[in-house]
Amino acid sequence: MIEMLVHVLVIAGLIGSALLVYWFRDLLAATLASGIFSFLISLEFYILQAPDVAISQAAIGAGLTTAIFIVAIRATNRYEGGGS
């Protein structure tokens, strides 16, 4: 019962953060939402008893991909579609 509740909460958070990535026009905020998505999916891997995959996902998805996106945003515009 409690496990089912955690599953539902994590999957609701996954859908919510994926929608936020689509919704934000501020690309830095969208990158952080994508990092939250990676963190939640690594939590889901841990609940499904794959701690190995969870460590990889937390390090690569939530850490390195976010860092690469932030470095790319530094070199370009922060806002989508704006020429500022």
Partner: protein, 157 residues
């Protein structure tokens, strides 16, 4: 362009803990979940936090491209050397010559439920260490080249 002082101090504070946790995952790769790749990725994430928070000129003295490239090559050489060691001693390629030999990582695994003996598994921890320092260098050098390629005039618009 640097980030704010809050981000910089947080990155400096987090860096040693990420380093120690990643090295722990690498060294206990044959006992607990994780291994060379996962531990190396955690260490590289710690380096990535520092690289993102500071400008390239600040971080270039601490995390050098040359060191990271040398680390990547040394990891690959150590891996293939550990595999070829068995070939030199007359066994098959990748044969675990150190297991149960009594020398480095050479104790036999204790029987029954136990917390795990670090000094076991022969050549497997050596290959975990090799993969760990290789992934550490490889993933960090990607971020360093990305950051050093930023044009100063276009940055921070």
């Amino acid at each position: 362009m640097r980030m704010s002082k809050l981000v910089r101090t947080g990155a400096d504070l987090l860096y040693p803990f990420a380093l120690i946790f990643g090295l722990y995952i690498i060294l206990h790769g044959h006992l607990t979940p994780g291994g060379g790749f996962q531990g190396g990725a955690v260490v590289a994430t710690g380096a990535a936090i520092v690289i993102v928070a500071w400008a390239y000129e600040d971080v270039a003295g601490m995390i050098r491209k040359v060191t990271m490239k040398a680390q990547e090559s040394a990891g690959l050489l150590l891996f293939i050397g550990a595999a070829a060691l068995a070939l030199g001693l007359g066994y098959a390629f990748f044969y675990n010559v150190l297991a149960n030999s009594g020398s480095l990582f050479g104790l036999s695994v204790p029987f029954g439920p136990n917390p795990g003996e670090l000094n076991t598994a022969g050549v497997i921890p050596i290959m975990n260490i090799a993969v760990g320092i290789e992934v550490w260098g490889g993933l960090t050098v990607i971020l360093l080249y990305l950051l050093s390629g930023l044009n100063k005039k276009e940055e921070g618009s």
